[in-house]
């Protein structure tokens, strides 16, 4: 019984914005772990990337709109991940979610590392594919 309870308690509610390769992969992993997930994308066909065993919700809409964010119940989310293919969208959504809804854990993906300076003060965590790859390649070279 204990096992069940502990699993139920801290499973949280993750909102993923952008259902591309990264967003869909992340959503699949979380859903397979039995967590609560909601994926937002403005293109309905993007949800085809989700695996057939995906058990979470999908929401079709532009996440930069307040209406879509409140429909996604952002105020209840424990973490929000912005991984669309546009840095500007990711930054805008991350700031919206942080300021307006006070989400605890906000992660944004940025292709351009220099834009990360906007996020540091706002308390938004950033992931930069080019920096990560550079580090990884460095390690391979050494």
């Amino acid at each position: 019984m204990k096992k069940f309870r502990s699993k139920d308690k801290d499973d949280g509610y993750t909102i993923i914005i952008g259902c591309g390769r990264l967003g869909a992969g992340l959503a699949n992993n979380l859903s397979d772990d039995g967590r609560s997930v909601l994926v937002v994308d403005k293109d309905n066909d993007a949800f085809k990337r989700l695996s057939p065993s995906f058990g979470g919700l999908t929401l079709n809409g532009d996440a930069t709109e307040i209406r879509v964010l409140s429909e996604a119940n952002v105020e209840k989310a424990s973490s929000v991940v912005a991984v669309t293919n546009s840095d500007n969208t990711n930054l805008l959504v991350a700031q919206l979610v942080k300021d307006r809804y006070g989400a605890k854990n906000v992660v944004a993906r940025l292709y351009e590392p220099e834009r990360a300076c906007i996020c540091i003060d706002a308390g938004i965590k950033t992931i930069c594919p080019s920096v990560l790859s550079a580090n990884a390649i460095n390690e391979l070279l050494n």
Partner: protein, 518 residues
């Protein structure tokens, strides 16, 4: 001395507990067939527990315990012997194909095992009890039982089957254990709604809603002076839109307006989809009324009831009493419940024909009701109107058809229309084939009687014109097949049979390839 004893007991308890947990772990890691079969066994043992509370009926307990033990044993064997196969091996298959076989086998297994209690208890002949079991699990409500002379344990069992059949086995299994592939099964069993961002939570929410309404229904029935046993049975059957009664005259036997109103409300709740119900409970009535399906349901109920009432008034009966009868009749038919106040088949042809149409419409998608589902009819009508509109408009005008779901507005695209059309066409073809077979086996009945009875079976409605009670064996078999197809929404049965054939004989239907030559 005492301390030692207590410690020894503790140790034994711990060991038993550990063994149970080990077994549970093994089963939950085992394959899904095992879990489903064990669940079915557990469900069938419930009436045995109920027999303890009914005076002098404990002698019927073994009739339920024996099948339950058989089911559990098969389940444990299936769960432990056959380990879960690597899911990636079948990754290329469509989700519905992966899910179809477990769903179909669970339902057929439940039907087979579920007929045993009637046979062991000496209540019915084997074929009749199989029919009763099919009618129970598929929430139809056609019956061969002699209700007035049946022990209460069996009456409880009939309603309990319908209650569980309304929820569906996959949903119950999902609530208890969670695996990767369960979502395929969930979709395959016909639950299109996701209420929560997590499958387990969705199942739990639906389960809680359903049980909450059951409790409310029982209390309301008790207020209107039904006995507790009858209240329990009727609430279970009304909520699952099934329609087994503990009286031969169904709800009409009570002759009480209060009970009729409670029944109508429960039937309406049962035929509304769970996403709408959860919105309703959160108090967002404005949004509920915007959902196309709900609007369609309300307008349809009002319209059909008025038409029937007016037609009855024209032939001489007072307006209000005929409106009252008509409203109940319309709700019980489109919700595919099948509770009756009087014999509907004796109504005038116009009214009977309207009820016949309602049997095809059925309840809301993702509810416990059968039929073609209101949502599909709604989409088809919109497509039909759109088709006419397109011909009246300039040829380059773009027409966007939309319908509103709980989640918001959604576009009716070509995929959705073709999917809906495919279902409607198969439904009608099965209806034609089934009616033809029934007419073939019963040469002395008139055409409409056969159509009415088979539409009732296929839509899992359960309103009978008396054909079933006196039916011969082949007719019963045809009706059983109709009920199973109706409950599992047709495609899943065929895909399941195909998947089983592939498993067993490695038969593969290759899609015909077209070669284009220059």
């Amino acid at each position: 001395m005492k301390k030692e004893k207590i410690e020894a007991l503790k140790k034994i308890a711990e060991k038993v507990f550990a063994a149970l947990r080990g077994a549970a772990n093994k089963i939950s890691r085992g394959n899904v067939y095992g879990k489903l079969f064990i669940l079915i066994g557990a469900l069938i043992s419930v009436p045995a527990a109920a027999s303890l509370f009914l005076r002098g009926e404990i002698k019927y307990a073994p009739a339920f315990l024996i099948p339950a033990v058989i089911a559990a044993a098969i389940g444990v064997a299936a769960g432990i012997l056959f380990k879960q196969k690597n899911e990636n091996a079948r990754f290329w298959q469509s989700p519905i194909q992966q899910g179809s076989l477990p769903v179909l086998s669970a339902w057929l297994f439940a039907i087979g095992i579920g007929s045993l209690p009637f046979v062991i208890g000496g209540q019915m002949r084997p074929l009749d009890s199989l029919f009763e079991s099919v009618s129970g699990w598929t929430t139809t409500g056609l019956t061969l039982a002699d209700v007035e002379n049946m022990p209460k344990t069996f009456l409880f069992y009939r309603s309990f089957m319908q209650y569980c059949g309304g929820l569906g086995f996959i949903l119950m299994v999902n609530m208890l254990v969670h695996g990767k592939s369960e979502i395929n099964l969930f979709n395959a069993e016909g639950h299109p709604d996701r209420i929560m961002p997590n499958l387990k939570k969705t199942s739990r929410t639906i389960f809680l809603l359903y049980n909450g309404f059951l409790a409310a229904g029982i209390i309301l029935y008790l207020i209107f002076k039904m006995s507790f046993f009858d209240a329990l049975c009727h609430a279970m059957s009304a909520l699952s839109t099934a329609g087994f009664s503990t009286r031969a005259d169904s709800i009409g036997a009570y002759n009480s307006v209060g009970i009729e109103v409670v029944t109508s409300v429960l039937m309406l709740v049962g035929s509304t989809n769970f996403a709408v119900l959860s919105l309703l409970l959160r108090g967002r009535i404005g949004r509920v009324l915007k959902v196309g399906e709900v609007r369609f349901m309300l307008i349809m109920t009002a319209g059909f009831a008025l038409l029937i009432a007016v037609s009855m008034t024209l032939s001489g009966s007072p307006f209000f009493s005929s409106l009252h009868k008509a409203v109940f009749g319309v709700i019980t038919t489109f919700s595919t419940t099948g509770y009756t106040l009087s014999d509907y088949y004796t109504w005038q042809p116009f009214a009977v024909f309207l009820l016949f149409i309602l049997m095809f419409v059925g309840g809301g998608a993702g509810s416990t009701a059968g039929g073609m589902k209101i949502l599909r009819i709604h989409i088809l009508l919109k497509a039909a109107v759109g088709g006419i509109w397109r011909r009246l408009s300039p040829s380059n005008k773009i027409i966007h058809l939309k319908y509103s779901k709980v989640q918001g507005k959604s576009v009716i695209d070509a995929d959705l229309i073709s999917e809906t059309m495919a279902f409607a066409a198969s439904y009608i073809m099965i209806f034609i084939a089934g009616t033809a077979l029934i007419l073939l086996f019963n040469p002395d009945i008139d055409l409409f009687k056969g159509m009415f009875e088979f539409a009732s079976a296929l839509g899992t409605v359960g309103i009978s014109n008396g054909l079933t009670k006196t039916a011969n064996a082949p007719t019963l078999v045809v009706e059983m097949i109709g009920m199973i197809l109706g409950r599992l929404e047709i495609f899943i049965v065929f895909v399941g049979i195909y998947a089983a054939a592939r498993r067993i004989a490695n038969i593969e239907i290759k899609p015909r390839r077209r070669v284009f030559k220059k």
